[in-house]
């Protein structure tokens, strides 16, 4: 019996090395292949082509070379949208991650009720992307909204934050920071992997808590910090819903919340300038890809890998 099994095994193995599982793989991957081709790759290339055309859905696209890209750099609203997005990304993502790390540290050090706190802090991450929360934000930071009611309690007269061009973007940043729960959970898992003996050894040597943080926690957690950073940056560049709902689709007041994706939507699906929208989309892709590449490159200098 055992012999037969062995034979069967070797026959199975040799058959596998000769042919592989090509046929089975083709079956199992068929949906994915079709999706990759029709839903992802073809549209990706099509939008690259469209970005060099003038196309309004009604007539066939006409080739205009790099004119869309040239127009972008002369378009004040496009430049504004780029500025708004960069501002949003580079302020709110670090703040969100700092908050996530701070709370993860506070929860990590032997605390009763960890699961309870984790749930409470995590809940906003699940809800933050919804229209309901964006609508709530519009009210909370409105002229007679919750924030101003609380401020009035202390005798302070607040602004209509969402309708003030200097503060509207800030309210969206607060919303992004509010969703720090997801990176916090990742940090919590990462902190668990740092052996306690490092801290014990450090405190025996008389290292202060602050030093332990900078010389043990940060280096050993750096792969996780890096991972969170890349993910949150990519996500923040594509933020759309909150700005759309809070500004009622305009990106106002005075384009102060005109996220890049919001402007793209306005051009593509508001004025049906599909060629221009495609050029904008490809520019976004290049920014996100470039930033991720820079991130990976820079990570050599600050991310510490144990192995």
């Amino acid at each position: 019996m055992a012999v037969i099994q062995e034979v069967a095994k070797t026959r199975g193995a040799s058959r596998e090395t000769r042919n592989g599982d090509g046929k089975a793989a083709a079956v199992f991957l068929a949906p994915w292949f079709i999706g990759l081709g029709l839903i992802t790759a073809f549209p990706l290339l099509a939008s690259l082509y469209l970005s060099f055309t003038d196309y309004s859905l009604l007539e066939a696209p006409s080739w205009i070379g790099i004119e869309n890209y040239q127009r972008m750099f002369e378009d004040a609203r496009w430049i504004k949208s780029l500025g708004v997005t960069f501002q949003y990304v580079f302020f709110s993502v670090p703040m969100q991650l700092a908050m996530a790390l701070l709370l993860a540290m506070a929860l990590d050090k032997g605390l009763r009720g960890l699961a309870f706190y984790r749930s409470i802090y995590y809940l906003p991450s699940l809800l933050g992307g919804s229209v309901a929360i964006a609508l709530l934000w519009r009210q909370v930071f409105g002229a007679d909204g919750l924030v101003n009611q609380v401020l009035a309690y202390f005798g302070i007269q607040g602004y209509g934050w969402v309708s003030h061009p200097d503060y509207a973007l800030g309210t969206l940043m607060v919303l992004n920071v509010w969703t720090f729960g997801a990176p916090m959970v990742i940090f919590l898992a990462g902190l668990r992997q740092i052996p306690t003996m490092y801290y014990e050894a450090a405190s025996i040597d008389g290292a202060s808590k602050l030093r332990q943080f900078f010389n043990i926690t940060i280096p050993l957690l750096s792969p996780i910090i890096f991972f969170n950073l890349v993910l949150q940056l990519i996500g923040a560049f594509q933020a759309f819903t909150q700005a759309f709902v809070v500004s009622g689709g305009t990106g106002g007041p005075i384009d102060s919340t005109l996220f890049y994706t919001l402007y793209l939507y306005q051009r593509g699906f508001g004025s049906y300038d599909m060629g221009y929208a495609s050029a904008m989309a490809w520019f976004l892709l290049l920014i996100v890809a470039g930033l991720t590449a820079v991130n990976f490159f820079a990570s050599k200098y600050w991310v510490f890998y144990d192995d």
Binding site: L136, I224, F227, G235, Y265
Partner: protein, 316 residues
Amino acid sequence: MTDTPVRPDAPTESTMTRVRPQRPLSEVAAEIPDVPRKRKAGPHLKRLLKHVLLIAFGLVMLYPLLWMLSSSFKPNELIFREPGLIPTALDFTNYTAGWNALLHPFSHYLLNSAIVVLGCVVGNLVSCSMAAYAFARLKFRGRPLWFAIMLMTIMLPIHVIIVPQYILFSSLEWINTFLPLIVPKLLATDAFFIFLMVQFFRGLPKELDEAARLDGCGHGRIFLRIMLPLSLPALATTAIFTFIWTWNDFFSQLIFLTRPDMYTVPIALRTFLDATSNSSWGPLFAMSIISLIPIFFVFLFGQKYLVKGIATTGIK
């Protein structure tokens, strides 16, 4: 992407492999016990103070949500005057008014959202698990390359493909149907979940499917009878995240659904702002609360899988 333990035979994930702790994060995350791993013998007072601070902070974070819940029971004029949480009177008129404020009763939009969510969940479960099985268990030519392409599609912003997708779907006359939202999920375009399930499948002992093969099982039966039943946690994580993402999704639903009778909950909620005057926050809050209830229940009952899922792939 931080998950797999290093394996020489695994397809390379190029640069991604460098972001890699010693142990699967998902395991660690799921293991985090409720009780402290090491109780500091610090003074009671300090610990108490910490709890007070953490609870206070949690309250500040959740305050807007609780306030919205309370406001949904308040008459309009009180919403703007009372920052407190306890409504002076329990009043359901906001709910009845909100339910009927739009062109269709709100149940219409809830049903539409439910159809889209159901389609997407089924689509992702079927197509992503199939693709994941191929990547995790089958040997075929070019596997590392295809795997790398799959990982790259995770990072692809939807905005880069939405315009041609719109053109494609409108030439199929699929605009104002749920097909543009559901069909891509049937074709495994949510590569996140392929990755998540590949990670999970790799952790299952290979001896099981080898034994099944010796007994004459084909890949179809190994997949259906062995891998899937053992992967319920991964399937649950996929279902839960698909549910939440689809329920919250705004961008693609805004683009593909423009006829009021096809509106889903997020799109319907947004039209509240146009349809009703700015002063009717009460009904708007009431419907917002209703739109958040399904997510809240998923959160309550699916927490374990959510935490595991985020730690595996870093999704929200």
